[in-house]
Symmetry: C2
Subunit: 335 residues, 2 copies
């Protein structure tokens, strides 16, 4: 069935019907000029927005509508996680080419709602439009965080330890798998990497735990690549940093696919974006507490270096010494 | 200068530099994983989002970047006005074709910030992306409203008077001027209509005043067309309505361009979308109070009919009796 058969309001009603009962904090969800929600007094409203564009962020021949729905919320949840905030409400904007099937949108919404349900997020509104050509997905995510608990990019101090959750570079290799094999992985390792690219796990629980316990002094999610995102922390905090290449956590599939002995596979782990892991700094005296907290995390945690004075800049060091930073830059949409 | 010369972060810094000092309620604006804002306790957070797509909502050969910036926020402000809420914070998502000039984006942002400043709205975040082809603008607007003051679509009751601010149909005729004359109006009347289409005025002050005084029982902004938007109120409130065609407020330029004596120009005032006027119902005993309040409004106010029992449905009546509703439907993106 094509979208033109049900029309814009048909689409909205279809989305509305998919939603479970809304929590009391949703005063008015979909179906008015605006959504009305109530946040607890004494907390901050945290709002983030992420735009996913067909042909730029995703390729419909390489992913499914369901996974795209999951990922479009996951990337916003990852931003929320990087603040240590609790995600609450989402708004979806979709610009949809006329030939798109209703089934595609249904699958997209079902993936979105699955991811939302896993994090107690309510879909409260949005907008839909025809698109001349490509699919555009824009998600706004609203959350809350207690004053004094939220973690900014600007709090890192020289001497802090630098940590990262999970493993890096999997998503970039997964993208390569998608592109080279047209989404059909040739081995379990490739399947793992592809899954990491198409269906990332936002570290919401980990980010909130770090914030609640006051352990992270600066935090960001690794969406543009380790080097780029570390640069954001260093600029906002007016510090430098040293990262030791051998400490960067790499998954076994990453190592088997990208890192033959003596190879430069680790560069993919530094440049690669879309890992949606958390990169944060913590005071050196909190090291034991950080490790204790992370013991319960399935994704794991690695200390990859430390924060330095600003005058040092950012140094990525392998066994031969500092690496040329021009090799390590992430993705720029317009460059 | 093309965008590729300054890159994504260059663009963000450029936008940041345009912003005036942020109010204390903005804990963290542009430049972290998410924006952090504080709303007064005891109020509701009101959030709305509107998507504008090149080739669907606007044509870059017929408007300017500055006017597009103004309008992209205005349409969201109009939604906020229709809730009776106070707009506070905005997030912008832009998907930008590679060949777009930096000057275009600067002009867009300058129009946006001009409109934001007029309504004390702070730009606190957003996202940017390349676009394969068309420009996409997605604005999220967050506002607040006191419990008990916000006005929904669902509060209309039979017997209520039905009012509309300003005049209707100007925007649709302005669109025709833009299309027929390639944006070069042939008379002052056409120039007026074109301005109403390209640079609409959201009725924020009027919407808030109605809400604060508890005068509006149901309210919506006329974005899809009077008939469509009245249908939303009637469905949500489970009521019917009667509208008298001779009461529909028409501007002098509209009448001179669209309504030769004996013509059917009024149909454009009922079908035409994008007027961004407020349509609301109020209890009959509040009529004097409504008229007193509206005396201070430059845009004016007209009583165009009344709310009826649901069984009656919606009747639009001209001097010959009820009009066939199939003539009156508004715009559906996918139909």
């Amino acid at each position: 069935m094509e979208l033109r058969e049900i029309g814009e309001f048909g689409l909205i009603v279809r989305i509305q019907k998919r939603l479970a009962a809304l929590p009391p904090a949703v005063i008015k969800g979909i179906g008015d000029d605006a959504a009305v929600t109530s946040l607890s007094p004494g907390t901050y409203l945290v709002s983030t927005v992420d735009l996913l564009v067909e042909g730029v962020h995703f390729n419909l021949s390489l992913t499914s509508a369901h996974l795209l729905g999951r990922k479009s919320l996951a990337v916003n949840l990852s931003d929320m996680a990087a603040m240590g905030a609790k995600p609450c409400f989402a708004l979806i904007s979709l610009a949809i080419p006329a030939q798109t099937s209703v089934e595609f949108i249904d699958d997209f919404i079902s993936g979105f709602i699955e991811m939302a349900g896993a994090h107690c997020v309510s879909l409260i509104g949005g907008d839909t439009s025809a698109s001349p050509d490509k699919l555009f997905v824009n998600i706004t995510l609203l959350g809350e965080g207690k004053k004094g608990e939220l973690v900014f990019r600007s709090g890192a101090q020289p001497g802090d330890r630098l940590y990262v959750t999970g493993t890096l570079g999997d998503s970039l290799l997964g993208l390569h798998v998608a592109q080279k094999r047209e989404g059909k992985p040739a081995s379990p390792d490739e399947a793992y990497l592809l899954e990491r690219h198409l269906n990332p796990t936002p570290r919401v629980r980990e980010g909130r735990a770090l914030a609640e316990k006051g352990l992270a002094r600066a935090m960001i999610d690794v969406s543009d690549g380790l080097f780029s995102d570390l640069t954001h922390i260093c600029e906002e905090s007016r510090v430098g940093a040293t990262v030791l290449v051998e400490r960067i956590p790499l998954s076994a599939p990453f190592q088997s696919v990208a890192s033959p002995p003596g190879g430069q596979g680790w560069q993919a782990a530094i440049k690669g974006g879309e890992d949606y892991e958390l990169l944060f700094s913590a005071a050196p005296e909190k090291e034991a507490e950080v490790r204790e907290l992370a013991r319960g995390w399935e994704c794991g945690l690695a200390c990859i270096g430390k924060i330095e004075p600003q005058s040092q800049g950012i140094i990525i060091r392998d066994e031969n010494g500092p690496v040329d930073p021009r090799l390590l830059k992430g993705y720029d949409h317009f460059a």
